[in-house]
Amino acid sequence: MAQMLIDTANHIAGYAAKAARVKVVAAYPITPQTTVVEKIAEFVESGKMDIEYIRVESEHSAMVACIGAAAAGVRTFTATSSHGLALMHEALHWASGSRLPIVMAVVNRAMGAPWSIWPDFSDSLSQRDTGWMQFYCADNQEVFDTIIQAYKLCEDERVFLPAMVCLEGFILSHTYMPVKIPEQKKVDDFLPPYKSGWILDINRPFSHSNLVSPEWYMEFRYMIQEAMENAKHLIPVIDKEYGETFGFEHGGLVEKYKCEDADLILLTMGTMGSEAKIAVENLRKDGLKVGSARVRVFRPFPTEEIVKLAKEAQMFAAIDRHISFGMEGFLATEIKASLLNQKDPPLVAGFIAGLGGRDVTFDTIGKIAKKSLKWMHGGKVERETEWVDLRE
């Protein structure tokens, strides 16, 4: 029987790990991720999850223990935030380079200094080039669904890469929302038992990840790039299949809302996508042709989808909950890069908003849209990167 819950995204991430029948969880507490590992502890101690739960002494060890467990042949899960993710950085490269299908929930939290416990994407986006696939969720149902989808994707032989499922701290992590947890049997049918490209096996004694000379290293990197490209094709397919089975679909790579006839498209990630939809509704009431495109998958980056969206629109506004210091937001950069070789591309304006947990409401996004429309009508982006709601 499917189960309707009203619960936080962190608890829901725990339910997803349980539904995915993970065998080893290695985790370390950090705000705002903690209630994920607490939920799993509750499942383990009440006998609802029969797993090895390694309460490690750091996030670095959490990721490495997951690497060891995945290499020894079982499905693994972990969760972290912010500095915990940064501490894992080196191990993230090792996981993807080893082609291990590990899934991790990242509860987004701003990086210090100064200390902040509130959300932005500076933690996960700093891990952009680690070879991990990155999903960004807009609500608690999507957190559950994406974790299940991510295992299916990661364990596909055309992919064999790890993935992080990102959800913003507090906005989702500690907010109660209704979520439908499907029947276990249906999840089992959708997600077959653990599969990986290789395994530590005493009958096939290999040296795994030993020293590789310049003669071979590039080919290994190229295979990761190929896997990312394969994932780009598989993500919409898996999302669709999931939707047909469980009733929830999340837009594949990019969730589009009223983009068909839009002059201006608001590009966001995470929960800003939900606010952007309301902003679009309000702007449309005023006769303004605005659409929303929520980039759900940041790696692999949906370049082709962005190019398709650019065909009709005159203007893109990329709203980043992140700043790459000395440049701009990553979303703006990737969108501009995607459009570079296109004929008559739309104008692209970048907006930095919501850093360290500052609210980005539909009103905020409405203001961004109106400014963008003004620039669109003037035929010129007046500021390459605009910081939104900044104190004077």
Partner: protein
């Protein structure tokens, strides 16, 4: 207890490995495999063994080997142990095999964590008293007075006492060893295999490249380290401290060779002053006062707590 003749003939360390001539670690590896056989999973961080195993697509080991990040041997082993248990695979020993830098410095956190969690595996530190793979830089295990490339005039601090740090974790088995005493090493490895929980073995592995001595003298150097009392062979089994032969005879100070016999054979101690050598001799004597006390204690501070 085995004798040399009873050691298996099978070789799991193949010819063509990439260790330096006279490498004490390579001898230890060969003995490791002879002691434990091939039903093991080896976890190796960045260290000399990264090179010794040979580069892709080759390997000189006949056991599955997980190469892992420098500081993470014990964390990776924790994950492997957990997965094997979930898969209900029995009779496979997980072995962490790390250098002294990877153990006493950068890897101590993960090791301490794994020991506290009572992870069921054998952790072996092969100690050549410096960061050998990067060309002999000082580590926490480098002894006082030793030249390294980052202590060109000799290290001014003493060696970290890692075996007793591990004993303070109250794990069921801690032992020291040296490849110059192969039977002792094999016995300790086999004993460790039969014990449940975290087992720690610290091997002093002479290194001609870093210690600056002739490659033919590795076994002799290891013997001298033990005979001078600079390196004591002991084991702490369920908290009970015991000196092993020949170290058990060295409680009597008169039976210990002067440390100078060991120090003068090595280029790394070339700039050692007379005063330094006397200081080292004094510390060795103090260490043996400690060993005497540990050996005579019937109740030990190192006894495992056990699950409550």
């Amino acid at each position: 207890m085995v004798t040399i003749k009873e050691l298996p003939k099978e070789e799991y360390l193949l010819k063509g490995h990439a260790a330096c001539a006279g490498c004490g670690t390579a001898i230890s590896l060969r003995l490791l495999f002879k002691a434990l056989g091939n039903k093991i999973v080896l976890v190796v961080p960045a260290c000399c063994t990264t090179v010794i195993q040979g580069p892709y697509p080759y390997t000189s080991f006949v056991v599955p080997l997980q190469n892992i990040l420098f500081e993470s041997t014990a964390a990776a082993a924790s994950g492997i142990v957990a997965a094997l248990r979930q898969r209900n695979l029995k009779g496979i020993t997980v072995v962490g095999w790390a250098g002294d830098g990877g153990t006493v410095d950068i890897g101590i956190q993960a090791l301490s964590g794994a020991a506290e969690r009572e992870t069921d595996f054998i952790y072996i530190c092969y100690d050549n008293e410096a960061y050998g793979n990067t060309g002999m830089q000082r580590s926490g295990a480098t002894p006082y007075g030793a030249w390294t490339t980052t202590t060109p005039s000799g290290k001014r601090e003493r060696k970290k006492d890692m075996p007793l740090i591990m004993a303070a974790h109250r794990i069921p088995y801690v032992a020291t060893a040296c490849p110059s005493y192969p039977i002792d090493l094999v016995n300790k490895l086999r004993k460790a295999k039969e014990i449940k929980g975290t087992k720690y073995i610290h091997i002093l592995a002479p290194c001609p490249t870093g210690w600056r001595y002739d490659t033919s003298k590795t076994v002799e150097l290891g013997r001298l380290a033990v005979q001078t009392g600079l390196w004591a062979l002991f084991e702490i089994e369920y908290g009970k401290f015991k000196l092993n032969p020949p170290s058990d005879r060295l409680i009597d100070k008169a039976k210990r060779k002067p440390v100078k016999e060991y120090l003068t054979l090595q280029g790394r101690f070339r700039s050692l002053t007379e005063e330094d050598a006397e200081r080292i001799q004094k510390w060795v004597n103090e260490d043996w006062d400690k060993y005497r006390k540990l050996a005579s204690n019937s109740t030990s501070d190192f006894a495992p707590y056990g699950k409550i």
